[in-house]
Structures are given as structure tokens and as C-alpha cells.
Symmetry: D2
């Protein structure tokens, strides 16, 4: 990117975990320059007061959110805000020519009624929303390349869909048998002080929650249905586990063809993700663990077949705050800009 | 127990995690006196050298294993040894009149062929093995009361079966749809130095293992088949999670009667476990977490129904080293002795 | 206690970590019956709603705080409230004849000016405060036995003082060289949602805080001065470490007599704590770890001498929520009632 | 580095934690190419079998160690072997013209007698050893630039010395009052299966070890003496804490000039480390935590003065496997090669 001018970008909601990942990643991204950090409760504070560990490299001040001003200074804007705020700003930013990458649920639904059923709110932005593209590059790369507004896929959904997509797209499973048992570190809850996310409460324990009623279910089903070509209903159970970062999805489904062995499926997955630099399909017999993905934008996928029960078990692991959030958004921006998809995104984790 | 003489008991394999739980629990048990600790590599060492935190209360020396001597001094013996050793000692101990509680897999199988397929070994103890009772009190209380030799159920199996039993026994589910997604703390691997169980490796990560091939599968299926009255095949996937103690089983199955709601199932479970003091069926809408069970012999069970998919989701949580191991064995002994089932067993955990 | 009537006790601040420890411990205490739980924000809720894991044994409702009513129903009252509230209730409770055990800082200072300098507030209870005894049984057992009002020593202070007391009392060290480097699990912060105590923030990190300015310093110095017989000033640095329960204090001081070896000091410590059932002085060469103390009222102490530097290093480990809080209060009550000091208090931890 | 040829480098001991950090970091280093991985027990295995998470980028095979062959293929060699092996290989590698960076203790001592007292062994390499430079760039940058053989400073020592150096160099403290209370994550123990480093043992606990006798003491004192210009003796106590990566050193010392305030010291530290890009001196009142340093080569330093006691308290935090090991070695190589000191080394950590 040596001679090119860097793209001026802004981050709204810079004080949260999504924000700090974006700042961290974009500081090392050769194509962009972070020129604006916006926040609400943290407006007026220096970013290094919020995150002292970045103080030697970041000297930006968090500013209050002013859409006019943002559009003047930024060519691309990341919205890392709680669900329900993005749709109040995105239309104006889009109208002024900004590329908008929303990390919340606001622009993930093709049907706004579904959104309203699960999240409420009074949506008056149908027209803009209709132009939004679902931000999961491995499945919608071409459409993202053309988009101005992207509703980036979230952590649980990304991890689940990357495991399921080849099976559904190629009709290998009985869709209604799909069960997703997902396990997440607690950073998914954000930098918000909640009692159940205290170390004292969450450490040395594992807890299921929102069983049968998690609001990521409609989002998963929307994309599964798109992949399968007909309505698909899945079972999804999230669990909180005692670690900071990482999601593992263990996915079960009944194979249509009981003669398939795991080596077949490794081949199928490898082919399906051939052009996807952030998907690492593991060799037969190797299963992923979340630590491998930690600090990277990579999704590790392992596949097993149980010949006794006729089921495939797919295991996928991501860093919920990178491939599941900020890294995904940057990957989308790279595609929107016509840049190398991997630009500025870590592919190698530290271990242990 | 005030006026009774205490029962002299021995523990073989005292240096492992099973052994130290037994020592810890039996020190506070009013009906027994620990008179013998046996070990192999630790023979000759004082127990407080192995576990200094118990030094103010335990002054026993670990002795080498001598069956004659053990039978002379003990009326009941806990075998907390690696699988494959108990069947070399139990016959002699039984012959000399000892009650024997084996914590390994050696006496869990009604069909020794199944044992040999999964664990190998040359079993010459068919006759004695045929008298062994499966040590899961909530399901086989009456038979345990009559037994001299008990093959105590292990941690994964106990947690899984307590979740599944009411469903299978009462024919509420389609058995072949049962999927058990289990998550365990790393103490289940024992006090054995293995690289993958190092804190540096296992912390901040979750990893599936032995997918579709774990050797607890035949044991789970044996009991499920017994409960259902016909052969049952289940899916079982264990995961290692970054905590010391605790197992959570998340069990999925398709209901035969789609009209059942979770309140019905809470009622059914409560009735099924009415006489079981260590089962705590949670109110509708409350799901268990492993920390609650930590340090107790209690199994917490939560039930949910997904009306959309027609599935029941049962979640059960135990302390893998107590209800899943040492506490279970003591519970069996209490029953064998005609004592109160809860004698000397903790029912209340510390929190957080 | 078989034939005696149980002492009716109340707990104010039942919803916090101190409260739930007290409930948990007192349920198994043969001398008392919990007849009253008081709280503010949680008034009206059933206790098992706050802590579902105790639901099978505890069916009390948290009531709003009414001193008249409490005094009518309870003979002893535990005040497990934030500092600054106890002194508004204790005088009335004492006047009505209740024994009062305060777990906050309100009654720990012999000089109320010191209290006001560090905690503020308008103290009008000088007369009652003057009757309060400092609740650290190993040092003030006799006075506690006579007291009606006890200001129980807190977690950092207890752990630090038990390490330092023999050295100061017997004039073995140069007092002004004493440095206490203390490390605590995060449960010390209470069941209050604070960002820095989130698992996502506090896990996999260690952080010093309140360096040179922690408000436990005056409390430590007050007792050190009492032990030494003259004013003593110490260095105290607390650290937050990524675990739930436990405090380790590593204490450094220069020996007056450079000829002392660690075996001498083990002898001196053992003698000093001869009558203290909850102090476990470790053999020479063995150092404590916090896990040993977890779930018990025991303080483990290890001693080392560095002949090169002329310093003694004393390491003490406790469970901050038991010996450092609730267990200590119960130990005080046992003494006040003339009961066995160990009654109802755990002496053996689970491991691992 | 675009047009330059990459420097061919080798790593001996590639299978350990030091090795995998080096591989990970050097894959992203623009100046080098990893052409050789050497190991003993892992010889013949593909590196991605040992560390599957790097399999999409690393396709090297671990080879058996053959010094001739290594010298032929590599211009620089990292020795990441257990102490006692490097001195058997380094002389030959140096003789053949390789630059050698040893991560063990073998080349850290200017006096080989000290080495032999603490580590044993039969050293015949006095001549070569005398040319070795101590690999702590912030203190010995100029000498490293001229060196062919560097004995890189280890994790505890680096973290301790970076905290102490400005005080000793400028004569601000009474040297014999220096006490270092150090806390390390368990990865410092290496990828070696030891019982006390199991998650089940080490999690939720903190334990001091090697009190007054740790073998890093002579190494710390050697450099402290060099800085002070006379023999210095320090107190050093290591602790194992329940986390994977990171070291915090809390350093206490009595100030010579009691009038100094913390702001003075922040100024002094900032000046001292002005040319050191990996030292981040924190603003007054901010203290470091290890998580900030995680995944970076940065050392964060916070300074506090206790006017009451006349002591300075310095807190320093590093990632033990990067600034304390592999990153330090790469930093040394950068200097030896005349490259930018920060080349290929991460300066920004992920948070949380």
C-alpha cells in the first residue's frame, strides 16, 4: 500500500471490546488511518485513559458522536454500538457517501419484521436496510464487494454457520436434525459490568443460558435457509465458559448419505473453503480448540463422522472478538475496497 | 452413630484425586474409620507429604498393597485404581468377606466381552463379576443395598444418565435422537502429568476429544438400554474446559409427545427423583451451572422444551470428583450398610 | 449440642458473598438456627432465588431491615454490610441484648479518628465502639470471650497479621523493615458488578492496586503496634490475581538475630499458635498455597530464613471469604458462647 | 526490507514454548526466513503436528540436530534448549560464523564458576563464553550490536532488572534493601508435563516456590552489581499464579533521598528508557497489569513512592514468553544485524 493514501476511518463505540479490537487491529493495518473515535459516556476522554496499554501508540481522544462531522472526516465508519443505535445513524452516513460496517444486529436481517420481533424498535430505514449485505465473507464475498452498508455477522452466528454451510449448501444433511451446542468465553458479554460475568461468578463454572430462546437463532436460521434453499429450523444452545475469548460450536446433524466418511467431508470442506484464506480445515482426526484461534481472524474446522449413528459432528473454533466481530468487519472492508482480503488481519495465534 | 463402632475401611490408590477425595470425605464421616491407605509408587510415604493441606488431621502412611493384610484390617475397601487393576484384587477381597467399592470401569459391565473390547485385559473373574451391581444409587438403589461388590458409575456416565433416565424409563423420547454434549473440568484426567492438561495448554481454551469414540459410550448405552427395555444407541461428545472440577451434560432428544411443556417435565423429573436426596430438580426456567455442585454430592438438573423443534433439552451438573466418583462410592457404601444415604456427604456447596 | 436449644441468629446483608458464606456455614452448624435474613435491595426475594444452589436446604425469605424485629427474634446478629452501615444499627442491637458480630470496618478501630480519616462518616457511637473487641481470635481470644460486640478482622488484615504476630510479639524482627506483599482472588471485591472484576478483565492478569494507600494499612498497623508495644509502620501492597477465592501474604522482615534458622522459627510459630486449632504451621521447607485453605477456616503458614540477606520470609494463606470473613465471625461467636472454637467450621479443604 | 535477501535462520528446540514463539514471530518478521527447525524427541515430525494451529502457514519438518548442517544453512541460530545443552553446540556454530542467540542460562554469566555452582556441568568453552554478551538490549544495546554470541536474559530477570536498573544506575536507593516479589504464569515452566503445573493443581491457587534459593538470584545480582558499580545482594521470591502468560515484579527499595516523589521518578525512568522502544513508563498513579503486555515485546513500568515509609515501589509487567524469552532474542538479533530494533516484534497487545 506504500504509495497509496491511507483511507480515513472512524470507529463509533470505541470504548467497548469491539472498539478496542478495531483500534488495535487498524493501528497495524497498512491501508487505513484511524481519524475518529466516537463514544457516548467516554466522550472527552483520551483513549489511553480507557486502555492504558495502547498509550504508547494511540493518542486519540474519544469524541461525542456527530454524524455530520464523522462523514466529513471519514470514508469508512465502523459502528460498534449496542443493537438499536446503528439504524439511527447509518442512513445519514450512507447518504453522505461513507462505507458503513455495522457490528450490531441492526442490518443483519433481510426481513425487518424478524428484527422487530426479537429486538423491538421503530425502524424507519427500510430502504437503506434493503441495500445492506450480510457480512460473512466466506458466504457472501461477491455481494460484500459491491456493498456500501454491511451488517457484519456476529460471533455465535459466524462460528455456527461456517461449520454448517458446506453441509447445507450441498444438501448433505437432513436440515431439521441440526443441533448447535455453542460455548463462549465471557468477553462476548462486552465491557459492561454484569454480576454473572464477574470472575468470582463465572470462573470455574459452565452455564447454559437462553436455552431454546437465544436471539441469534433467527439470524442463524435466515442464513441456513438461504443456503439450503428452503426454510430451515435449527437447535441452538449457548453456554458461558470460564475463559476470556473464543467460541467453539459443536454441530450435530444426520447425514443423508450414511456412506460418507470423515475423509470425504474433509475433502468437501476443503473444496468449499478453497478461496477462503481465514478458514483452516483440519486434517481428519484433528479437532480444533479455541486457543488456536485466539488473537487471529481464523476459523478452525474439524469434521468427524459417527458411522454408528449416521451423524456428522462438525467443530468450529474462532476468536469471538476478531473473526466473530472486529476482524470480520475489517475483512469486509478489505473486500469492499478491493484490497487483499487478509490485509492487516492476523493469521497466526500465540500459543500457549 | 454415636454408640456404634466405626466401620474400618481401606482405600487403595490413595494418592490420586479419587483417593484424596475419599480421605477428605471419610475423615468427616461419622460411620467409618480409615485404617488403611494403599498405593504403589507412593508406598512408604506419609499421606501428608502427598497432600500437605490435610497434615493437621491425617497422619496415615501409604502402605504397599497386600490383599491379605487389607482383608484382615478392613470391612470395606474402596478401589480407586486405574482401570484394569481392580479385577485382580476384588475377587480375593470379596472372598474374605470385605465389601468392595470399585471406582474404575472393571465392574461396570454386565457383559465382560464389552469390557474386553474397550479396555482389553484377560478377565478370569466372570463369576465374581456377575455378582457386581452398577453403582448408581438413583437407578439401582435396591440392588446396591444387597450387594457385596459395586462397580461405581463414573463421572461422565453419572451426569449423562441422571439427565436421561426419566425420559427413557417413561418412554418420553425417541431414544435414537439422544445427543449428549458433555463438558468436563480437567481434574477428570487424574493426578497424572499429561501435556494437554497443563494449565498453560488447557487454560483459556475448550477442546472436544475422543469424538464418536469415547469409551464411556458403551457404558452409557448399557444403562440406557436397561432403562428403555431395548437396545439404545446415543451420541456422546466430551469436551475439556478450562476449570478444575465439574461436569455439565447438555442432552438433546426429540419428544414423542410434542404437547409436553417444560413444567410437565419438571413435574415428571421431580417425581422420578422424589426419593433421591442428592438430585435437585430446578424450577422451570432455571438452568444449572457446575459451580453449584462443586464440593457436593448433588446433581442439579434443569429441563427445557423447545416447542418449535419438538425437542427436550436437559442440563445436568455434578462435581466430577464427588457425585462422579468418590461421593458416589460413599453413597453406595451408606446404602450397603443400611445407613442414611446422605451420611457424611456434603449437600451444600460454597459459592462463589 | 444434642439437647441444647439452638441459638437463633440473624444475618444482615444476606445477599452478598459474606452473607451466602454465613448461610452456608450456619446451615451445618449444630449450635445455631438461622431465623432471619435481612437485606435492602433483595428484601422480599426468597434466598434461593438469589442462590439457587442452596434451594434444597434453605427456604428463607430476605426481609427488610427492622432492628426492633431483629432483636426480638435473634440472640446473635451478623452484620455483613458495606462499611458505614453497621454503626447505625449495632448500638440498638447491643442495647437490646443481642450479641453483634460486625464483618465491616466499623468496629475495628480503637481510635474512631483513624476510622473517620479513612472511611469518613459521622460517628456518634463512641461509647458502644469503646466496648468493641477486635475479632481475631488467635490474638484476642480472651477478650472476645467477654465481648458483646466484635469487629471482625478482614481478609487482608487477618492473613497479614497471622504471619507477622509471632515475630512482633517476641521482638524477633526490626519492625520498620516489614513488607507485606499480598495477593487476593477477586471475590474480595464482593458481589458487586465492577468492570475491573469481570472475568474478561481480571482473568489471565495480575494487577497491583491502591499501592501505598490501601485503607487496610491503618488497621494492620494498629494491631502490629499493639503486638510490638510501640508504634509500627508497615509496607502493604495488595494485588488482584485471577482466581476466585484465597489470599496469600508474602511477608519480609529483617531478623534482629541473624543466627536464627528456619527450624527455630517453625518451632516458635508452632508454640505461639499451639492453642489455635485453625493455624497450621507447615514443616520447614514447605510453603503454603491458597488452594489448600479454600473452603476452610484454616490459615496455613510457612516460614523461610534467608541467611544471606538476614531476612525472614513468612507466607500465609487463607480463604478470604471464610477465615478472612464469615468463618472468622463464626469462630468469634463460638468463643463468645463458650462453645468449642471449631464448632461448625470446616478444617479440611477439597483438593484439587 | 523489500529488496533485501532474507536472513536464513534456524531454531533449535523448536518444539518447546520458546520454539513455537520464535516460529510464530519469525513468520511475520520481514528480515528473516526460518530454514531450519531442530529438535531431539520431535525430530522427524512435521511442525504442524506439534502445533496444528500453525499448519496453514508453516510446513517445516523438525530435523535432528546436526551442527555442521545447521551452520551450512543458517546465518543465525536461536538455541531454545534446556540449560546445559547450548554450550555443547554454540562454540562450533560460532566458529563457523553463525550468529548465536542462546535463550538458556549457559551464556549469561561472566564468571563460569557462578554458572557451575548453580547449574553444574563441565564447561570447556571459557574462551567462547568470554565473548558472550548479556542479552538485555535496554542495558547492553551497544555491546549486543557488536556480538556474535548473545546469552539472552530470561523472564524473571528481565522483568526484575528493567524495574531496578534506573534506581541502581543512578544511585537512588540503598541497594541492600531491594526486595523483588515476582509472580509468573505457569508457561514459564515450559511444555513439560509436571504435576504441579497441571491446570487441576495450579488453577485457583497461588504458590511461592524456591524461596530464598531460586537460581535466577545470582543472575539478577550479577547485573545489579554491574549497574551499581559494587556488589549488590537482593531478595527475590517467585510465585506461581493461575494464568498462562505474564510476569509481574513488585520491587521494593528504600530511597536514599526521602524527598523524591513519584512524579520525579516517572521523569527519571522516562529519561532512562528514552531510547528504548519496548519500555512503556506509565503516568504517575497508573500501575501495570500483565495482560497489557500479553502477546507483545513491551515491558510496562509503574512507579510509586510511599512518603511514609521512604520506599519506592516499582512494578513491571512483561509477557514472559516474548520480552522474557523469544521476543528478546529477536530484539537482540535486530540489533546485531543493524536493523530497526522493533522489526517484526509486536508492540500492541489484544485486550481483554
Amino acid at each position: 500500500m506504500g504509495d497509496l493514501e491511507r483511507l480515513p476511518v472512524g470507529i463509533l463505540g470505541a470504548s467497548g471490546y469491539g472498539g478496542v479490537q478495531l483500534v488495535r487491529l487498524l493501528m497495524d493495518h497498512p491501508g487505513v488511518e484511524v481519524v475518529y473515535l466516537g463514544g457516548d459516556s467516554s466522550a472527552g476522554k483520551s483513549f489511553s485513559e480507557l486502555y492504558p496499554h495502547l498509550g504508547h501508540r494511540v493518542d486519540l481522544i474519544v469524541e461525542s458522536i456527530d454524524v455530520e462531522e464523522i462523514a466529513k472526516r471519514c470514508k469508512a465508519v465502523f459502528l460498534s454500538l449496542p443493537t438499536g443505535l446503528a439504524y439511527q445513524m447509518a442512513p445519514a452516513l450512507v447518504a453522505k457517501g461513507c462505507k458503513v460496517l455495522d457490528l450490531s444486529a441492526d442490518y443483519r436481517f433481510s426481513n425487518l419484521e424478524t428484527y422487530k420481533n426479537w429486538y423491538g424498535g421503530d425502524r424507519q430505514d427500510q430502504e437503506i436496510a434493503a441495500t445492506a449485505v450480510y457480512g460473512l465473507p466466506e458466504l457472501y464475498r461477491d455481494r460484500i464487494a459491491e456493498a456500501q452498508l454491511v451488517g457484519c455477522a456476529g460471533c455465535y452466528v459466524t462460528t455456527s454457520l461456517l461449520a454448517l454451510a458446506p453441509l447445507l449448501k450441498q444438501g448433505l444433511i437432513v436440515p431439521e436434525t441440526a443441533i448447535i451446542d455453542a460455548k463462549s468465553g465471557t468477553s462476548g458479554g462486552g465491557r459492561v459490568a454484569k454480576t454473572n460475568l464477574l470472575l468470582a461468578e463465572a470462573d470455574n463454572s459452565i452455564a447454559p443460558y437462553a436455552v431454546a430462546h437465544h436471539r441469534h437463532i433467527p439470524e442463524i436460521e435466515q442464513i441456513c435457509s438461504d443456503l439450503a434453499g428452503h426454510d430451515v429450523m435449527v437447535q441452538f444452545t449457548p453456554h458461558l465458559i470460564p475463559m476470556v475469548r473464543g467460541i467453539l460450536a459443536t454441530v450435530y446433524a444426520t447425514l443423508r448419505d450414511p456412506g460418507l466418511v470423515r475423509e470425504d467431508l474433509v475433502t468437501i470442506y476443503s473444496a468449499f473453503y478453497r478461496a477462503s484464506p481465514f478458514i483452516r480445515v483440519l486434517p481428519a482426526g484433528t479437532y480444533p480448540q479455541t486457543k488456536w484461534a485466539c488473537g487471529t481472524n481464523v476459523c478452525y474446522i474439524g469434521v468427524e463422522v459417527d458411522a454408528r449413528t449416521g451423524r456428522v459432528i462438525v467443530m468450529s473454533a474462532t476468536d469471538n472478538l476478531i473473526k466473530g466481530q472486529s476482524g470480520q468487519a475489517i475483512q469486509c472492508l478489505n473486500i469492499m475496497m478491493g484490497w487483499e482480503e487478509t490485509l492487516g488481519l492476523p493469521q497466526l495465534g500465540f500459543y500457549p
